[in-house]
Structure formats: C-alpha cells, structure tokens
C-alpha cells in the first residue's frame, strides 16, 4: 500500500465519528444511570441519557447560577461544573410516575449532597421522554434549599 493511501485511510478513520447510542435503552437502565450519576457525581452517566439533537432543561438554584435549556455537550460541562462544586452523597427515588399520554416518565428523588463540607438534602425532579424505543432525559430540576 502506498504511503499516501495509508495516510488517507488513517485520516478517514480518525475523523469518522463514533456512532454511540445516546439515550437509555429502558427505564431500568435509566434509573441505574441516574442513581449512579447523581449518587456519585458521574456526569457521563447522566449525559448518556440525553439525545444529541435535543435540548435539556437544567435548573439547580443556589448551586449553579445559570439555568435553562442546554445542548448535550453543554449539559456535560454544566454537570461537570455542578459536581465540582457539590459532592453528591446519595440519590433515593421517592416517586416514579409514567405519564403515558405525554410519553413521559416523572421521577422525584431525594438528593443528598455536600456543599462546602455541609450536608444538604434537596428534592430532585427528573423527566424522561420516550423517543422511539428509547428514553431520554428532558429535564432535571432541583428544589431550592
């Protein structure tokens, strides 16, 4: 194989995006990822449930000054910043409700975090939406302290 052909092949392989399955396969996977994400501060576990072409509502009053709709990559930076500021301790689902008419799944959870070394518990409201055969995160909001 000629040198230039090799280089061309290498460039093609390097620049071809990896097609990864964003969004959760089912609700069990979704709950598992959200528990891991918000329980141990793993932003990637939460972001993996966001569709790349959707915007997600994020709101953490008192913890992050910005709120509103963010793209998936922006949400990853947002959650990284959040978990740098607060140290998650636990994520315990309190209530889960399927709203079939809207294709949504509403989760209310108790989120325990450490802010500047002090423990704090907040209610967390997560909304998942059914898209095809997958579930994606559309909104994560925290109650203010």
């Amino acid at each position: 194989m000629k040198r230039w052909t090799r280089i061309a092949l290498l460039m093609t392989v390097a620049l071809t995006p990896l097609t990864a399955f964003a969004q959760f396969k089912d609700l069990d996977v979704a709950m598992g990822n959200l528990t891991r994400g918000f329980g141990s501060g793993d932003a990637q576990a939460i972001v993996s449930g966001m569709a790349s072409d959707d915007h997600v509502q994020l709101q953490f009053p008192g913890l992050v000054p910005d709120s509103g709709m963010f793209g998936r990559d922006q949400a990853a930076y947002y959650l990284d910043g959040l978990f740098n500021k607060v140290k998650p301790v636990s994520f315990e689902p309190l209530n889960q409700r399927k709203v079939s008419s809207e294709g949504q799944y509403h989760i209310t959870a108790r989120w325990t975090i450490q802010v500047a070394g002090k423990p704090e518990a907040r209610d967390l409201y997560v909304i998942l939406r059914n898209k095809g055969d997958r579930w994606s995160v559309v909104s994560v909001r925290s109650a203010s302290q």
């Binding site: 093609t12 620049l15 959707d54 709709m69 793209g71 990559d73 922006q74 990853a76 947002y78």
Partner: protein, 417 residues
C-alpha cells in the same frame, strides 16, 4: 541567519519571562494565602481612598457647575423658559434644577432627581445622588447633582469589583450589614454621611484568582512566543526557487498548534460578554478546543493559519488524495455545524448583517474561519486533464443524490395516511 538568531533569542527571552512570571505568581498567591487578613485590609483601605477621591472630584465638579449656573441666573432677570435653557447640559448621569427655599421645583434639566434634594447624599432604591447646592440672590436654590448607580451587584464607577472585592454598596448608615461585609465611611458632611459596605471574596477565591491571573499571563506569553517562532521559521523555510520547504512548514504548523494549546490554560472568571463559558456555546466535538465561543474562535484561527501555512505544500499532493482530504474535511465541517446548532443557545448567523452580541460575532467569525480553511484546501492548481477528475466524480455522485432529493420531496408533499 542573524535575523533568525535574534528572533529565536527574543522567543527564548519571552519563554524565560513566562516561566519567571509563573514563579512570581505562585509566590504572590502563597504570600496572600499566609497573610490574607492584612493584605485584604490594606486592599480595602486603598479602595476606599480611591472611592473617596472620586467622590470628592464629583463634588468639586458639581460645585463648579452650581456656582456657574448661579452666576448666570443672578446676572439678569430670566423668563421661565430662559431658566430651563440655562440649565441645559448633555453630560450623562448629571442634572440640575432650581427650587424654591421650601423645595418646590421651578426649572430642571438632565437626570431626574428622585429624592428630596435636601442633603448632600441621597438615595433611591438603586441610585446614589450627590447633590451640591448654591443659593441665588432671589433666595431660590440651584442644585447640581450626579446620579451614581448603586444597584446590588453593580460595579459602575466609583464602585468596582476585582479579585478582592465581590461587590459593594453605598448607603447612609442605616443598611443592615451583610455577614462578612466590611463597612467604611467615605465622606462625612454636616448634613449627611456617605458609607460604603464592601463584600470581600473568600480567601480561596482570592488565591485562586491570583493563580489563574498568573497562569493566563504565562499562557498568553507562551502563545506569543510560539506564534513568533512560527513566523520566524516560515520566513526562513523557502528554497532558492521560492517554494515552501516541507520541514520548516511542518515546524511552523507545530508552533501554531503549540500556541493554540498554550491558550487552553486561559481561564477568565469575570465574563460579562459570555464568550469564555459554555452557557452560550460549548461542545465536546473538539474536546477543550471547542468548550466556549472564544475557544472555538481560537481553534478556527489556528486551523486557518495551519491551512494557510501548509497550503502551498498541500497543492503538491496527488489530486485523488486531496479530494479525499477535502471530502473528509467537508464532512467534518458539516459535523461541526450540526454540533454548533445542537449545543448553542443563540444562532451563529445574525438575523441582519451586524451581530447582535459579542458572543454571536465570535461564533460567526469562528464558523467563517473554518469555512475559509475549507475553501483554501479546495484551491486547485493542476492541468486541464487532471482537473477533469473532480467534475467526473461529482457527475457520478449526482445520480444517487438526485434519487435522495426526489424521495425527500415526495415525502414532503405526500399527505400522511
């Protein structure tokens, strides 16, 4: 050769300066950490001295204005409209009025005085008014005043925020002192006293900011040195026939990459233009090289510079290989545009010709630079026969494209069953 040696000597000096600055910044941060209380007290005292001087200067200007107005008004009898005319001024945030001894306004101009105007310092919800008065021969009073923004969190002069001060507010002595805030007297007059409450940053914040400022300076210096090196290498990298040589070109490209990488260390804390953070635009497509509008712009500039540096060398590649590179680059550009739309809270294309915000302008320029880089890749210098390859490739690709397009348009017009 001598010029080149001088350039590289200058670059070495810049790099050495950057390293020294890093050390100085680390030492300063350490010193502040160990003597934070004394340092902050000194800093706040200096700030108050500065604010006091500015307030005094404003008062002096107002005194001059009030005296000047009084001299003009007392000079002869004026009609009511004449009085309005005398008070006329275009100075921003300033105003003047003539009131009766019991405070009823007769004529006025400029800022609206939303206070009684009976003391030197008066406040409304979001403003401080500094008022200087002069009694006229008639017994009426002419007042010249300045409105100073006193919004919580604001930093309009004479207030300011820096690595020590998180915020400040003027008041007349009745404001409840916030926890951690430090209170100072700015000016004491027989009729009123002006106070300022300064809210300091925490010790961790101050030390962090000093470190970041030091790191930013070092990163910018290193980037400048790398760019200078790229230019120097490029200048010397031509063969006697005027053609760009491969090795110096590659070296120049590496210096551009080094400059761009050095600027990754820049962290801007106060970002009123919203170009250094992810909230307007932030992408993971190019990793840290596209984490904010400013990063995307720098990456666009770097890519454009690389393509311009290596352009001549790229034109010497075989046409098929260049077409492959072009196709991959075009695909990458489309991905970047798609990712930009998905991860941006504003459009990068202005509704009209002029961008409505700095963030939009930065995104627009960044996208244009990526586009220009792509166009430079497509620059073609070849024989007529060799040039036929591309039209033939496009013609072959046209049939499947037409099929896709016709399918899409059919879907668009066919009503759903």
């Amino acid at each position: 050769m001598i010029r080149s040696r001088t350039t590289f000597l200058a670059i070495a000096v810049a790099v050495a300066t950057a390293i020294c600055l890093w050390g100085v910044s680390a030492w300063h941060a350490n010193r502040v950490a160990t003597s934070f209380d004394q340092e902050s007290a000194k800093h706040f005292n200096d700030d108050v001295v500065h604010v006091r001087a500015e307030v005094k200067e404003i008062e002096r200007q107002l005194d001059v204005r009030a005296e000047h107005l009084a001299a003009r008004i007392d000079a002869r009898q004026h009609s009511l409209m004449g009085l309005f005319h005398i008070l006329q001024s275009s100075e921003p945030n300033r105003g003047a009025r003539i009131v009766t001894p019991n405070g009823a306004p007769i004529a006025w101009w400029g800022e609206d005085l939303r206070a009684l105007g009976i003391k030197t310092y008066q406040f409304d919800t979001t403003n401080l008014y500094i008022i200087r008065a002069h009694t006229l021969k008639s017994g009426d009073i002419v007042q010249a005043f300045a409105r100073i923004d006193n919004t919580p969190g604001g930093n309009a002069p004479p207030r300011h925020i820096d690595e020590w001060v998180a915020g400040s507010v003027f008041h007349g002595g009745f404001l409840r002192q916030e926890p951690g805030a430090v209170r100072f007297v700015v000016e004491k007059r027989p009729d009123a006293t002006l106070w300022i409450d300064i809210t300091p940053h925490t010790k961790i914040d101050v030390v962090d900011r000093i470190r970041k400022n030091g790191r930013n300076t070092v990163a910018v210096l290193l980037a400048i040195a790398a760019i200078a090196a790229a230019i120097a290498v490029r200048r010397t990298g031509f063969s006697p026939s005027g053609r760009a040589e491969a090795r110096p070109t590659l070296l120049a490209v590496l210096f551009v990459i080094a400059a761009r990488s050095a600027l990754l260390a820049v962290t801007v804390i106060d970002d009123p233009l919203r170009i250094f953070r992810f909230d307007v635009y932030g992408s993971k497509l190019l990793g840290p090289f596209s984490k904010s509008p400013f990063d995307l712009l720098l990456t666009g500039i770097a890519l454009f510079a690389i393509v311009m540096l290596a352009g001549e060398w790229l034109t010497r590649l075989r046409l098929m290989l260049r077409i492959a590179v072009m196709l991959v680059a075009s695909y990458g550009f489309v991905l970047l545009a798609e990712n930009l739309v998905n991860n941006s809270r504003i459009s990068s294309i202005p509704d009209h010709l002029v961008p409505t915000s700095t963030a939009q302008a930065v995104l627009l320029v960044a996208v244009m630079l990526f586009g220009f880089a792509l166009l430079r890749l497509a620059k073609h210098e070849a024989t007529f026969k060799a040039s036929l390859v591309l039209p033939i490739a496009l013609a072959l690709a046209r049939s499947p494209l037409r099929l896709v397009r016709s399918g899409t348009s059919r879907d668009a017009v066919t009503p759903p069953s």
